[in-house]
């Protein structure tokens, strides 16, 4: 049976954040929400400085604390490894957000009408990207934020789980691009990484990219001592959290 895993090669990652951008465009997430987040660490004093990056998608844990605490079963674990949120069932208690050691959950604090990269009008209703409608720019091409797959039901459970910015007052988080994976595509962040630092595949298949990579290289998983059994593997040395400087914060104050 298929069991998906995500591999991040920290030795390749150069912190360009193309994955963050790809995720936002693909999933149409609200402003200030980063389902894929990249930590940047700086250690040492000039001239001996070491900068490292750590991309952080949802860990899609095999023992997910968020699934356990959900009082309505909106957060659930699929057999193929996905941990997803049913946007139609969530009551917005934010217990999953509290229970997650990785901080990957984002709540729709306000109505997600204006999403960061497709907000064509400003507060006064003026078009900030020039005149005319979106059609003038993209023609008949369906812009990603109108991707019908995001409104479709996925998996054998047939639940509304893909994409972001659905409702006010519900939790959303990284879906590993379920709507792409079910079509046989890779998640947007993986597909868009210019240095192939991100891998996605079937870990139960010994001949898959991820299995081969994990068999060959040394890897670690984030906060493994918390017993969450995350499905995201990192190749390279663990980042030096303490005493290092996180220089930029991607999370905007909303």
């Amino acid at each position: 049976m298929v069991k998906y895993a995500f591999v991040v090669d920290l030795t390749k990652c150069m912190g360009c954040r193309a994955c963050v951008e790809a995720c936002k465009i693909e999933n149409n997430t609200p402003q200030g929400v980063f389902w894929m987040y990249v930590f940047r660490f700086e250690n040492g004093e000039y001239p001996n400085v070491n900068v490292t990056y750590l991309p952080r998608p949802c860990m899609h844990c095999d023992n997910p604390p968020c699934v356990k605490v959900c009082p309505v079963g909106a957060r659930y674990k699929r057999e193929d490894g996905f941990v997803l949120t049913d946007f139609e069932r969530c009551i917005g208690c934010r217990y999953c957000q509290v229970a997650c050691p990785y901080g990957v959950n984002y709540f729709n604090w306000k109505a997600p009408k204006e999403n960061q990269y497709y907000s064509w009008t400003n507060e006064k209703g003026q078009n900030v990207y020039g005149s005319g409608s979106i059609k003038d720019y993209v023609g008949d091409f369906i812009p990603p934020y109108k991707n019908p797959d995001l409104q479709r039901r996925h998996g054998k459970e047939k639940r509304l789980t893909a994409g972001g910015g659905h409702f006010l007052g519900v939790i959303e988080k990284c879906t590993w691009c379920i709507h792409r994976v079910e079509k046989g595509l890779k998640p947007a962040c993986v597909a868009n990484c210019p240095v192939e630092a991100l891998y996605f595949g079937d870990i139960s298949d010994p001949n898959s990219d991820v299995s081969k990579l994990l068999a060959k290289k040394r890897w670690f998983r984030l906060l493994e001592d918390r017993g969450t059994a995350p499905s995201v593997y990192y190749i390279g040395s663990p980042p030096f959290f303490e005493g290092s400087k996180e220089l930029t914060h991607l999370i905007a104050k909303r």
């Binding site: 309505v72 050691p101 306000k110």
Partner: protein, 426 residues
């Protein structure tokens, strides 16, 4: 049948309605309308108008959840005191049992309301029932509302059974509320008293178990089982919560009884011994609580100075951005009132004013403490996110005040129709 002098005094809240009552009622209604406006604003714009934010920006839970825990704690007061009086036969405290009992269901309702305010989708609240069995095995939040429901049902039945003989007395004297009394007296026979006493005894036996299950159990586990949160995770939460719950409950009973004693001039019914006993017990519990606070922080501090997640939470509270709240709370609302109560014990003196003021201070302090339990661990993460910041907004404050106003209003209305002290005491 004429009312005797002492009965007239006892039934003063029902017989006499002064101008001050209407002013008080109007003030409460004004607060409630303000609360409604705040809730409307929140429903309209979403929780963005609160100070709550995602991990790394602010805490996802704040005043609403703290208020929830506070009201759950206060709910124990009443019924636990009443149960203790019944089981242990503490006849001295008999006059305040009903005053205390009413606190329980009212506080539980306010706790439920606080959770409703906290939900992003209150319109989907019924999902809690639809998916109940599916989630009962795992989610502490489901355990919470299970035990709360049991506790609420049990306390309402308990009170209902015990007020009936007084209601039967009232129905003869106050025709104005006849319809309500008749409703409460469905199937009433004068001989039921003996059976009711027996039933109440058994229920009183169960109530302390529920107290431990609720405050020492599921409410504490709501936070204490979260391995992701330094400062919450651990077995300590249970005893920590149960002591705070009983202390806040006792303080609330002292405050409410003292107010009634003053307002209705019930000096002969609510004797000072009652306050002295409750005050002594409160002081003992608060010493325990202060010791617990110390034990909690030394556990988080000792592994330092190497930074651990627990240490960062402890530092946030003791020396960081929460320090001014923590230290003023500890000194003004915990240490000073506890020592005043203790001094009274040592010097064998008693002042109702000192006891009441101490109880009020401790009640406020325990409310603040709930905020300091809930919020700091949510501003610090295991991964190096920015430190979260929290400033409650006017909407949160308004809704917290509105729950308090609604509780007061419900209490006022209840004692307006049902005798707050048993008229027919044996």
């Amino acid at each position: 049948m004429e009312l005797s002098e002492s009965e007239k005094k006892l039934l003063k809240p029902i017989i006499y309605t002064g101008r001050r009552f209407y002013i008080f009622l109007a003030a409460l209604f004004a607060l409630l309308i303000w609360g409604f406006y705040a809730w409307y604003t929140q429903l309209r714009y979403g929780l963005v108008i609160t100070g709550l934010r995602d991990i790394g920006v602010g805490p996802p839970w704040g005043l609403y959840v703290s208020n929830f825990i506070f009201f759950i704690g206060m709910a124990h007061g009443g019924i636990a005191i009443s149960a203790a009086v019944r089981i242990a036969g503490l006849r001295t405290y008999k006059p305040i049992t009903r005053i205390a009992e009413f606190l329980t269901p009212i506080s539980l309702l306010m706790a439920a309301l606080s959770i409703l305010f906290d939900l992003g989708r209150p319109d989907r609240i019924f999902h809690l029932m639809i998916y109940y069995l599916e989630r009962l095995g795992q989610s502490p939040l489901v355990w919470d509302w299970t035990v709360i429901t049991i506790y609420f049902t049990l306390s309402v039945i308990y009170i209902f059974l015990l007020i009936r003989k007084d209601v039967a007395f009232c129905v003869q004297h106050f025709p104005r509320w006849r319809w309500l009394y008749k409703l409460l007296l469905v199937g009433y026979i004068a001989e039921e008293k003996e059976k009711v006493e027996k039933l109440a005894w058994w229920m009183a036996l169960v109530i302390p178990t529920l107290l431990v299950l609720l405050s020492g159990g599921v409410i504490a586990w709501l936070l204490g089982l979260m391995i992701a949160r330094p400062g919450w995770y651990g077995a300590f939460m249970g005893p920590y919560f149960v002591v705070a719950a009983v202390a806040s409950a006792l303080a609330a009973v002292i405050v409410v009884s003292a107010i009634f004693r003053r307002v209705f001039k019930w000096d002969e019914f609510i004797r000072p011994e009652i306050f002295r006993g409750l005050g002594n017990f409160l002081a003992a519990l608060m010493f325990f609580y202060l010791y617990f606070m110390f034990a909690e922080h030394i556990t988080m501090q000792y592994p330092g100075p190497q930074p651990t997640p627990e240490l960062s939470v402890s530092q946030a509270i003791l020396t960081g951005e929460f320090a001014w709240i923590f230290w003023s709370m500890t000194i003004i609302f915990f240490v000073v009132p506890t020592l005043s109560l203790f001094t009274q014990v040592v010097l064998k003196k008693f002042s109702l004013t000192v006891t009441t003021m101490s109880a009020i201070a401790i009640l406020i302090g325990l409310w603040i403490k709930r905020v300091l339990i809930v919020v700091p661990p949510l501003t610090r993460s295991l991964l190096p996110y920015p430190i979260g910041a929290y400033t409650p907004t006017w909407v949160e404050w308004s809704l917290v005040i509105a729950t308090l106003a609604l509780a007061t209003l419900l209490y006022t209305l209840v004692i307006k129709v049902i005798p707050a002290i048993e008229v027919k005491q044996d």
